[in-house]
Every structure is written in structure tokens, then in C-alpha cells.
């Protein structure tokens, strides 16, 4: 199901071309590339959020110099020895060449406003952000690290679905990532997802919707089935707002829509709030239920952070 959603990320190699111009697909305004990048790849006229690469996303979120990639050496194998009109291995090589990435997800640790987190960020450019064995295993390792360190896990999603070239192995990554979320949940470690354009298929139907709090970028398509499949099934044209973040919010499927410029702050606020609950869980009388001792350290850190929040009012509604 991977390639059923088309997304225009013309910017290959993970960046923009300095000095050039780009036209906004929503308002058609011609935008200066440098200004667009400085505005986090959001159209300053209409607010359209251009899709961004995983490295751009990490650059926007992580405190300067705080990103440390994990599991960087994982590469797709070709367990099915799959080929259609072209072999799978060739498609992977092409994706590697085009994106400078080794897979559709980067995982690692970072700091967001000094808060330690584990990040798992998808990249739609790499084979339509499809989830195969490597994405599943990277997500698992990210979750494992989050449980070990008690750092919350933030997953930024962008996916056309499962990597069909890995057959059932890719479908079963839905089960695998769900088990990873269950592991987080047992700890419990806060887990927040950010659904970006587009989040569909197996990613949506597994870890993306299993988070404690689900955020989405404005205008993102969030839908299990691809729009074309639905149109073929119901034999009608879909309405323009079908499956968009705004529709998902109205239908109760996500917690909030967050503009890119606000995302880092909002993540830190939500994660701080979820960890703030630890304060309560560590009351003296609760101690036998408090879990591993390591948590206490994380808690002290959290408490300080929350205290500093208390002087900076914010509102989401």
C-alpha cells in the first residue's frame, strides 16, 4: 500500500536550494526558498505546511547539538528477493541515493528545551515512508531505549503504509510496533505522536494511533486507506477535506492540531505534563507501586522543569 499516496517533496537530498523560489501548492504564492526554510517550510501567506525531511524535522526540534542517532547501521535486506518491474534492492539504492538516508525512519536521542527524549522520525521521501523490517526494528529500539532511560518517546509519522516489497514481514511490523508501545505502556513512559502529511496505512493502524497524546500538523492527510482506494471502492470523488487533520480532530481521532512553529514547545509542555504525574506516583505511601528506582531521578528533573513552566502561562484552547 506504500505508494498510493502522492506527496510532492521535490527537495531531494534533505534540504532546500538556496536562492531559488518555490510556489505554494495551496495559495500559489511564489516563495523565496531561504525565507521558506527560515519559516520552517511553512508558507508565510496561507500557512500551508510543506512536507519536510526527517533531518529538517530533527533540526527544528532538537536543541542545538543534542541529537545522537541510534541504530544508524540498520539497512533493509531483501528477504523476499522481491522484484516487480525492478528489483527491490535497486529501489532501495535509489532511495538511499536520493535522500542521503539509509531508511524511512531516523531514531535517536535528543533534547527539547533541555528535556531528554527519544525521537523516531519518519521520512516520506524514502520509499513513501513505508514501514518495513528496518522501520519496525528502529522503532522497537527507540522504545526500548525510552524504557531503559525513562525518557519519553516522540514519534513523528509520515507514511504511505507498509513496505510491500517485504511482504508479510512488513505487515507484521504493525504487530511489532504495537508490542513496542505496550512495552512503553507497562513502564509507563510517555509516548506522543505527531502525524504529518501523510500518515496512512499500517503506520496509522499501529503505533501512530496508540500514543498517549496524538498531535497532527495542519492539513495533513490522516487515513487508513489511501484516497484512491476509497474512490475506487465507493466510486465517488472524495471531498477536499477528506481525512485531513481538521476532519480527524472533529471526528475525535486526534487530540490537537499544532502548527510547526509551536510544535517543539507543545511537545515539551505535554511531555512535562505527562511526566508531572510521576510526582503523584512517587508520594511516600505509593512507593511500592513506583517501579524502578531510576524513575526517581527522572522525576526530580521533571519536577524542576514543571516548576519553571508554572511561571510561563500557556493555553492550548
Amino acid at each position: 500500500m506504500a505508494q498510493q499516496v502522492s506527496v510532492d517533496i521535490s527537495r531531494r537530498g534533505g534540504g532546500h536550494d538556496p536562492g531559488s523560489a518555490e510556489s505554494c501548492p495551496k495559495c500559489s504564492q511564489l516563495l523565496d526558498s531561504d525565507e521558506l526554510a527560515a519559516n520552517l517550510m511553512v508558507c508565510s501567506h496561507c500557512g500551508h505546511h510543506f512536507p519536510i525531511t526527517s533531518r529538517e524535522r530533527i533540526g527544528q526540534l532538537a536543541d542545538e547539538g543534542s541529537w545522537t542517532e541510534m541504530a544508524a547501521n540498520l539497512r533493509s535486506a531483501d528477504p523476499l528477493e522481491f522484484y516487480d518491474l525492478r528489483p527491490y534492492v535497486e529501489r532501495i539504492e535509489e532511495a538511499e541515493y536520493d535522500t542521503g538516508l539509509s531508511e524511512a525512519m531516523l531514531v535517536g536521542t535528543a533534547r527539547l528545551h533541555k528535556m531528554d527524549v527519544v525521537l523516531a522520525v519518519m521520512d516520506f521521501r524514502f520509499m513513501a515512508g513505508s514501514m518495513g523490517s528496518v522501520v519496525g526494528e528502529k522503532f522497537w529500539r527507540a522504545a526500548e531505549r525510552a524504557v531503559e532511560t525513562r525518557f519519553p518517546l516522540v514519534a513523528v509519522c509520515a507514511s504511505g503504509g507498509a513496505r510491500m516489497q517485504e511482504g508479510l514481514l512488513s505487515l507484521l511490523q504493525m504487530a511489532k510496533t504495537t508490542c513496542a508501545v505496550e512495552m512503553l505502556s507497562q513502564a509507563p513512559v510517555p509516548f506522543v505522536t505527531v502525524l504529518t502529511h501523510p500518515t496512512t496505512g499500517g503506520v496509522l493502524a499501529s503505533y501512530a494511533t496508540l500514543a498517549d497524546v496524538i498531535m497532527a500538523e495542519p492539513g495533513s492527510l490522516i487515513s487508513f486507506s489511501g484516497p484512491r482506494v476509497i474512490e475506487q471502492t465507493i466510486k465517488e470523488k472524495l471531498p477536499e477535506d477528506f481525512g485531513r487533520a481538521e476532519s480527524n480532530l472533529n471526528h475525535g481521532q486526534i487530540d490537537m492540531i499544532v502548527e510547526r512553529a509551536e510544535l517543539k514547545n507543545r511537545l515539551v509542555q505535554v511531555l512535562g505534563m505527562l511526566e508531572g504525574g510521576v510526582a503523584c506516583a512517587l508520594q511516600p505511601l505509593w512507593e511500592e507501586e513506583a517501579g524502578p528506582a531510576g524513575r526517581r531521578g527522572a522525576f526530580a528533573q521533571t519536577l524542576e522543569r514543571i516548576k519553571s513552566f508554572a511561571h510561563t502561562p500557556w493555553r492550548s484552547s
Binding site: 509507563p188 472533529n250 487530540d255 490537537m256 508531572g276 516548576k307 508554572a310 493555553r315
Partner: protein, 311 residues
Amino acid sequence: MRKRLSELSRLPTLPGVHLRDEASKIKRRLHELGGGGRGDSSAAWEKVKLARHADRPYTLDYIGLMFPGFIELRGDRCFANDPAIVGGLAAYQGRTLMVIGHQKGRDLASRTQRNFGMPRPEGYRKAQRLMALADKFGIPILTLIDTPGAFPGIAAEERGQGGAIASTLMRMTRLRVPTVAIIIGEGGSGGALALALADRVLMLENSVYSVITPEACAAILWRDAKEARPAARALKMTSADLEELEVIDGVLPEPRGGAHRDHEGAARIVKEALEENLRELEMIHPQARRQERLEKFRRIGVWRENGLTLF
């Protein structure tokens, strides 16, 4: 009354039976006899009007005044986000609270959008989801109650209004975290109760809490909705009535003139009550707290058995 009292005092306490403190009964009756406005049916009706006053602070007003930070969380993950119930994470004294409450609108547009504070099933299912989230992370829960009742509509019934309220009640019985419910305005029937199966149930002085609106009660029993005044009195729905009936855990006095004249003052009072109650509740082990919660609601009721009136 005296006969009943003497019957009671003659007998040893029966196992499993809770004999209400008679002092309060006597106090209550004396209060009634002595007037104090409660013999006057317009006093109860005045409280109903105050509780519904358009200038009273609503859930989001309290949240805004009580907490330096608040992140609203939305949706039941099933059908819709119901704006008649709001909920989210609030920054509270260096830690976190989950706040869930009914939300009325103030002007025509927001009243319509909030459906006059009358939730549909998805509102209750959102509340359950947020309760589960709070429970997972050990975050205490504050509910603020202010609704004429659950919305009576065809689609709401089809989506299981009754079951949604029942399962919310069930969810509240199971919570490991401390829960405080405060009736801030109208506590209307099952739609209000759904958020009020809490360790502590408090009422603002000018709030009401009732099994049915006085108008509907009058329409049925007096066969005339205009008889809402005597119905309001008969239903014993004011905070003073209910404190005397010992079915709530306390009444919070409002600022001079009422909460609608001093939102900040009202928020301060609610916040202090919250602090005090949470402090007490957090001294109790989660298992014991859950057990006490069951016991507390188990005890509610007044009946006669073998000629005795039991409470």
C-alpha cells in the same frame, strides 16, 4: 421524627448497616422548622436560577484562573470530539492534574457549539479516555460539573447515551488515582453524575444537584411545568439541603454576592478546596482509596427494614 429517633436509639448497630448520625438529623429538622429560608419555596428556586446564571464561571474559566498551564485533549477516538465536555492536562503546583468538566457557552454561537453543556455519548467516552490516561501516569483527576443533563436526542440515544454514562461511572470506580468532583453550577441528573463518582464530591454554595430539573419534575408530578418552584424545594437540590442529607462531602462558600460576581474569588475557593482534599486523599494508599470510594457510594440510601429507618 421523635418516634423514629427513639426507635433508632433503642437498637444496636446492625452489621452492614450505616446509622446516620442523628445529631445532624435533628439539626436539619430544627433548621427547617426555624425557617432559614428553606421552608420558603422561592429560596430553592432562587438557588436554581443562581446556579444557571449566565455570568457564573464555567469550567474553562476555572481552568484559566486556577492553573498556569493547560493543554486540552480532545476526542473519544471513536466518533467525535464533544465540545460539551472539555478535558486536559493542567499544571498544578509543580505537578499535573487531569481536569474534566462540562462546558456551557456564553453567547449564542458558543452555546450552540457547546450544545448548552449537554454532552452526547462521545463526551462521556472522551472523559473515560482521559481518566484512563490520568490513571496510567498517576495523575489525580478533578471534575467540574455543570450541565442541565445529558443531551436527549435520537442520534445520541442510538450511540448509547445510557451505556456511555454507565461505563463512565464504572471507569470512575476503578481509578487508582485520587478524584475530586466539584459541582460548580447545574448538577443535572445522570449527565452530571457520570463525572461525579469521586472520592470527594463538593458543591459550590449556589450550585444545585438533582435527579431531575424542577421544571420536568413539576411537569410530571404537578402536571404543570410552571410549578417548578415547589418542585425545586421538594427535590432538596441545593447545596445546604444535600449537605444535610449527607450525600455530598462538603459545601464551598462562594464569594460575597455569588461566584458570578467574582470569578477570581470563586476560583480561589475551588483551588483551596482542591488542595485540601487532594492532600487528604493522597495520604491513602490507592487500593484503600478505591475501596473507600466503593464503600462511600455503597452506603448511600435511606430505607426502612423491620420497622427501622436505616441510612
